[in-house]
């Protein structure tokens, strides 16, 4: 899944990492936006072996966008703002 920036796309840049790889994002991005607009493709694997997941409701209800942030633990990527230097792992 690739999120496409359609408007308001020239905000100050921030950098975070996904599985140790640098990701460029923009201030005001949620983690979900930051990762999926940068080409991460997915956020987690289903525990039941039925494939990758990348969130579904974007309103904090479905819990299908869990990722792990160093120092914060498990968070919903749709409801967590990305910040400079965040170290993120897939959930």
């Amino acid at each position: 899944m690739k999120l496409v920036r359609l408007r308001d796309a020239s905000r100050p840049r921030i950098t975070l990492t996904l599985e140790g790889q640098a990701i460029e994002a923009q201030q005001g991005d949620t983690l979900l936006t930051a990762l999926l607009a940068a080409g991460a493709g997915h956020l987690r694997e289903s525990e039941f072996g039925d494939g990758p997941r990348a969130g579904f409701c974007l309103m904090g209800a479905c819990q299908d966008c869990w990722v792990v942030v160093e120092g914060m633990g498990r968070v919903r990527a749709c409801a967590t703002l990305a910040a400079q230097g965040m170290e993120v792992r897939r959930g």
């Binding site: 999120l3 408007r7 494939g51 209800a61």
Partner: protein
């Protein structure tokens, strides 16, 4: 008097406005950082907040809700980024979690304005990255300036289907298809009642006409076949038209949804009884026209009390606050309650017509193929639920949804049945050969959303 209001969407804002006007200073709790609810959700700081761009025809309403919200914050105990994960009506206490910190909030009376989420019917491929709810597609655009893809298909039914398609096309995404499972004839039959909606109905017609004028592919009365994809996500959507012919459109994302369902978990934990509303095809908490529930001290307003939309939520929020104040012995202007009640009654007639225009297609849920993933949290396929419903099942047949949950884990996962619940009940009812009402309702469990369990501190 200690009053708590949960939710800062249109219902919560208008409820708190009335409470503050009566001299009260409630505890006001919202899960989002800056209130507004889902419909008037504001982008995070750093993004442009031009109301006209974000909310279109609703800009005036959104701005009014936001301005009221901001003016009320210093007058109440405002607690943003706070989840109410449990309510204990016998102790009149809310359990909250905010940025990792637990708290208890005591109340004498509480107004729950907990909103709604999309109602979904699983389609083969619906768990692929690139498939989201219609609400999610709208939130991505509204609060992040992003489309869920570059070439997007929208599938489902209801006003949101057409609105989101319009918003995407307007924002510069390619809308490859708008696929409505409701037939044109069904919508036309409801047209006389829709006239009651006045401007709301007119806006709906405008979106549809705008999409048609742009030559965007539109199909009504469709049956979904699948959302296809590869390792990178979505590649195409396939459907059958009303005449049974198969079609396919290439796309890289799909938004799906069939109306809304109340987020009523807190009302459930507060032991408010529920009834099945045949018009909405939803289980809704029992309340009177003013928002009073049979549980002392618990009031409900907005979509969490039954789907009515944002305009109704504003009226109902004010009305519930007036009911609370009247019950607490405050003097209430009778003209105002009569006026609000009149507006609610009018809106209810429009809403009933809207539900008839875009009915929940239970037959699609009942017909989900055995090998289609039904419960995305627990990886359960429709066939597994059907097997549990059969008399020869080792456990004995699952004759209602809570037994089915125990036997198969349907609705037991991280979302607690929010996503699959409506469709699972239809699958179960079809297999049992009964009406969906007879299969019951998934009972709520605390916490209403997953919360971290702190590791126990070991004794020295």
């Amino acid at each position: 008097m200690k009053v708590a209001v949960v939710g800062a969407g249109p219902a919560g804002v208008r409820a708190v406005e009335r409470l503050v006007a009566a001299g009260l200073s409630p505890v006001w709790i919202d899960e989002a950082p800056d209130g507004g609810g889902r419909i008037y959700q504001r982008p995070p700081v750093g993004l442009a907040r031009d109301a006209r761009t974000l909310y279109g025809f609703e800009a005036k309403r959104a701005t009014s809700v936001h301005d009221t919200l901001d003016a009320l914050k210093p007058k109440v105990d405002w607690r943003p980024e706070t989840l109410v994960w449990h309510i204990r009506p016998e102790a009149r206490t809310l359990n909250t979690l905010s940025r990792g910190r637990q708290a208890e909030v005591a109340y004498d009376a509480a107004i729950l304005c907990t909103g709604a989420m999309d109602r979904v019917i699983p389609v083969p491929g619906w768990t692929r990255p690139g498939v989201t709810t219609l609400g999610a597609a709208q939130i991505a655009l509204k609060t992040q300036g992003c489309g869920i893809g570059r070439r997007v298909a929208f599938l489902g039914t209801g006003p949101l289907l057409w609105l989101v398609a319009y918003q995407y096309a307007k924002a510069g995404a390619e809308v490859v298809a708008v696929l409505d499972t409701t037939s044109f004839a069904t919508k036309m039959r409801a047209a006389p009642g829709l006239m009651l909606g006045g401007m709301t109905f007119a806006k709906g017609l405008y979106y549809t006409a705008w999409l048609r004028r742009r030559g965007i592919r539109i199909a009504e009365g469709v049956t979904p076949i699948a959302i296809d994809g590869d390792d990178n996500g979505v590649t195409a959507i396939a459907w059958r038209d009303a005449a049974g012919r198969e079609h396919r459109a290439e796309c890289d994302a799909a938004g799906i949804g069939w109306g809304l369902k109340p987020e009523a978990q807190l009302a459930d934990l507060a032991r408010v009884p529920f009834r099945h509303d045949p018009v909405q095809a939803n289980w809704v908490p029992v309340r009177d026209g003013a928002g009073r529930t049979p549980v002392a001290g618990i009031y409900l307003a907005g979509d969490g009390a039954g789907i009515g939309g944002a305009e109704v939520a504003e009226i109902a929020g004010a009305r519930a606050a007036l009911a609370l104040l009247a019950d607490a012995g405050h003097r209430i202007d009778p003209i105002e309650t009569v006026t609000l009640d009149g507006r609610l009654a009018m809106q209810a007639r429009f809403r009933a017509a809207l539900e008839r225009a875009f009915p929940f297609p239970a037959h699609l849920a009942r017909g989900i193929a055995d090998d289609t993933l039904l419960c995305r949290c627990e990886g359960l396929r429709a066939g597994e639920l059907r097997a549990a419903a059969r008399a020869e099942a080792a456990t004995g047949p699952a004759t209602e949804v809570n037994r089915a949950k125990s036997f198969t884990r349907v609705g037991m996962g991280r979302c607690q049945g929010r996503v699959c619940g409506a469709a699972a009940a239809e699958v179960l009812a079809a297999e049992l050969g009964c009406d969906v009402v007879a299969t019951g309702r998934l009972r709520g469990q605390p916490p209403v959303k997953p919360i971290p369990i702190p590791a126990p501190v070991s004794a020295p």
